[in-house]
Subunit: 165 residues, 10 copies
């Protein structure tokens, strides 16, 4: 039935596991990867994560965001259930919005060593203002480094309509 | 009445046929093509396919997606009823989202030998996260190869809003 | 400048307070109320709370919802910052969706003794299905008890469109 | 050219006036009215006012709302430029959301003596929660008093979707 | 080919006529009617008219609105091209929004003698506030008179979202 | 596999048939029905038909509409492929919008003898105005006759926004 | 941590279970229930199920729908993971749209014995027409039987806009 | 009153004509043009045509589409009423979607000899899949030929959301 | 209070003036300008004008459009009240849509001598087709001339959805 | 718990402070900054500010806008609560829309010395026309200066739909 056999999936300890432990302390080691079966082709994978929550580092108040992650894999892809557990681990973690988005990208670079990656966080407002940080990265010394610069140059020319309702 | 005569349509065994058999096992041989009557012109054909379903390779649980396919034909176009039957053949097939999208593109390249093609899958969430893989391809050694690289470079600068509802 | 003077606001310990403590253990005593200055008039107050999160009682996995609360006050109104802190206190609490909505309503009845109240939770999907419990209540022995029955009778004849994206 | 002649308009001191003074201190005397030319018919007039702002009575921080006002006139209608100036007069006024909506309705009842009136305020969120108070009123001892009770009974069975963005 | 023959259409002088004269001075005599072929059945006809414009009676400035007209015919229906010309005749006419809507309804009652009719105007804002008058009418001494009262009682419990953009 | 066996489907000559003939002349005999397997229960079936086209009886110009049909079946249900062919038969038929909607309902009453039925047509504009006729019907001498009157009384209190674009 | 203890959850064999078996043959015995902890209160639970698929009983072609289920529980609630598995069991089952919706409601009545229940299916189009059946039920001999009749009377006065795209 | 005098309009036989004949057989000679009064300036003209219908060449079944046409005129512009009649002439014409779009563009090139033109058809689904062909053209040997290639390169990087409803 | 003093505003005769005369005959001399206080910086100013109306030059029938105007100022900016009066002056003026858009741009170039300007008109449909002309211009012999060509090259790759409702 | 320690936050006097003073007189000194912890990476931070209000410099009438601010930080980031207070300080300040947007950008450049910044204001209409100024800036003598020019070149090719409602 499946295009992926058991040998392809043996690195994955979390997917389909019954005894999932939900860690609410920031832990980048939760991220797991599996083999890219199309290594000769550049293609994008996007994760839509509308259920992200962390804490404000100064007040301890919860923050909420939708996180969009897009990347071009090299040899490894990140497994989505492990990504979910990793994002859950920010639940009791405090950091500014701008830092969260950079940290998530750094951890995914460390886990997957992708060709290219970008992370965009869209937070709910505090005091009537909402903050949407965006960062990206291309493997240094490759054409993907220029790709990152090119995409930053064209980033978000059309900000979405926001009215706080 | 018709701009296409019977001679143009004789390759098509499925369109208008009464005895359609719906195969629910993955079968790329279901794809049928017909002649491109505008071979001197580069133009796009897009298929919107919001009724795609497959199975998770690890859990057997059904997955659902909208698949968008766009291509520039060379000598052949894919017939849409055969495309429908081909996509139905994933109904009992198990593969990761990232693999499904690459496989669909590979099979359409094999069937049509197009100048350029791209496939974008937008899946429903599991565990609060949804995955949207996108791949593309241009005929090697032609300007369409550079077209594929150019379009990947500009891919999805504006992720659509997703809130899981 | 203000229509409310200091004497009106002296019951409120949380609003404007610097040393807010965010409790992430369920605690209905966080709710504070203030005097209704229009006691002779029946009117509605609605709270839109799109940043609600709790835990699944069986798996410990986080759940997310938008909670809509509407009520007709009697002598007291609930103060919105205390409501925020109360809802935050579900952050590490585990309960089924159907129970959370009933518990929130019970606690608000206890805190305010309103004439009428209703609570509607709209959760994000798990396994492709989302759950939206709705409960309401009118003060027993008054016309508001019939109001609750009447509004339940007409509840949600037009379910909002949901496609999990 | 006009269906209304100068004699119909002589009560209006503000409409078309050059020397408009914008008062930013709450002043219900700014409201002006003109004659209802269709006194034998019950009909509704609705004002959409998305540019309302006042101050928080405890913190002095600005609040923002869209105010919807609907009424059935008796002998007088409120002139819309005077309504604009009246709503502007909350600009430096501090009151809770629930009080603002009741005060606006009370002042319009005083100015127009309508058969029926309702006021709905939809405020932007503070701390992730937004508040939408709604009040209504029918002339005591008339069928419009029952109308107010009937409309309160059916108020807002379908809360609009709010996600704070 | 047609369900309506020439005899059915002979009252209509404007529909399909080449020499249409566009009158920009208010003229209710422009309204033409034709026979209702389903007189034994109560049914609704609605006209959506988003291209209405008139003048402000005090300043001469143009006003713009979408007018919604719904009615239950008795013996006659209003022909839509004549309705268009009638609405065009407000182009250089000055009246308050509340008056325009009442006048349009009065003229349609005079032209068609319907069982029931309602007219709702939704104008663009001036000074940040927009006005939406609504009136209705049922034939006196019939059940449609009660219908008008019933529909006014339930009118617009859900004001559409307006943000002036 | 199927809940319906061949004996249930033998009345249907069009569904799944290869030699479908598309008639473009109005023909109510195209409508086919099948047995209601839940005769003891009142329930609704709705057809959304956004591909309706007919001709203007005076000018011969094509008209376009979305037709919404809802009914409570008695002993028979209308088969949807035969409904499609019936609606196609208006393609070269000329009638006013108000007449088309009444005729469609009359033909469906004749074909199915339902307990209750309603038909709503929403046409594209001509000369800036669009027309949306709505009719309904309940079996005479039953409670469904009162149902029709009740639903007409509450019909379309909230006209959809139309701006001709 | 949890408001529900283990004793409350011991009836549930599927939720959190690792060895979930996905049955693709129609099987109503998959439905599991748990105790209603608020038996003295009438309240609604709604399930949004946009990932429903079955087969056409005549052609074998897949059908797709969003199913909305709302009910007032009596002593038992249906567990959502078991509901998911039950709906998956239609994957290789053939039935008309009208029958699927009635069968789902019948099976839920059998499993839960609720006070009131309604099921609405919204299918994708075939041949340009889509079908949306709706059925409901109240416990015979109780006020919920009249509730079902009342809600059917007011069902879907505002069909959602459908344009097949 | 008019910026265009009679001498400018004498080529137009259809606009304002009473005796319009609606041809439902494909006829490119229906297209009429008029002089471009701004020949020294490159500018775009777009036609939105949501009322296009043709027939399937194999089954004879009607197809429906919205056609978007954009062009940069050279010496002539196409008159919109003649374009309407030309598009109506596909009403009884059978061709594949991909062919219709190419034929419309070819005929407009023949009629107007524009500098640049593009045509995009968005059809309704058959069998759950919809097809959107897009073609464009720039005058050979001019910079508009490169413009066509450049716009094809950037065509539709963001496919619109389609869910068949 | 104000960043602009009286000396900055003395060129403006219309803004704040009581005796505004609304001219309904085309008059480009109505346009007034004021000094650009940021002459060393290239920036855009956009006017959204959804209340534009003119007449058809052949039939005299009213036309309606939303006009979007964007420009990069050089030494002067156009004052928005004078722009309003200028656009009102098309009210009794007859011209084709394509001509209106070019004329508006020509007049604004004459009045302001901007570095760059573009005008886009989006009209309501006549006969089922709507027309959206777009023109732009950069100061000859400057880099803004190339800017105009570049923006025309990328104009409207994503036509907005139009369905005439 | 927090990724930011107290040493990182000691420059911030306003965030979490109890004695916030809301200044309603324009005051750029309210802006506070904190250290960029990712100085080696170019990334964007966007603020959505839908609660901006100022005064018209000629009439004193309130203006309302949504302000979008995007920047690439160099060594400092602006703290969002101080940004809120700064924007509040326009509450009693009078300036043209075009000036407000330029002033906000100038003040943020002064406060943060960013690599790149852009500010877009979208105001509500006055007299039926709304104004949306956009300015941007890149550090002179760096590649960000060319970035500003490039982004201005591609600014707002797709103006959002505006209908003043
Ligand atoms: Ca907030
Ligand atoms: Ca929003
Ligand atoms: Ca949302
Ligand atoms: Ca899920
Ligand atoms: Ca959605
Ligand atoms: Ca808004
Ligand atoms: Ca509009
Ligand atoms: Ca529209
Ligand atoms: Ca279909
Ligand atoms: Ca649609
Ligand atoms: Ca969808
Ligand atoms: Ca859709
Ligand atoms: Ca039209
Ligand atoms: Ca539309
Ligand atoms: Ca205005
Ligand atoms: Ca709007």
């Amino acid at each position: 039935m499946a295009g992926r056999g058991h040998e392809d999936l043996q690195d994955l300890t979390l997917l389909g596991s019954r005894n999932t432990r939900y860690a609410y302390t920031y832990d980048p080691k939760l991220l797991e990867t599996f083999e890219n079966k199309h290594p000769g082709r550049d293609y994008f994978v996007k994760f839509n994560c509308p259920e992200f929550t962390s804490l404000c580092p100064m007040t301890g108040q919860p923050d909420f965001a939708t996180i969009y992650i897009s990347y071009i894999p090299d040899k490894r892809l990140v497994e989505s259930k492990s990504l979910k557990l990793y994002l859950f681990s920010f639940r009791n973690h405090g950091d500014f919005h701008e830092d969260c988005v950079n940290i998530i990208m750094n951890d995914l670079i460390e886990a997957m060593d992708p060709k290219y990656i970008e992370v965009w966080g869209k937070f709910t407002p505090r005091g009537g203002i909402s903050i949407d940080p965006y960062c990206n990265w291309g493997k240094p010394g490759t054409k993907y480094e220029a790709m990152a610069e090119h995409r930053l140059l064209h980033h978000d020319l059309y900000p979405e309509k926001v009215d706080n309702r």
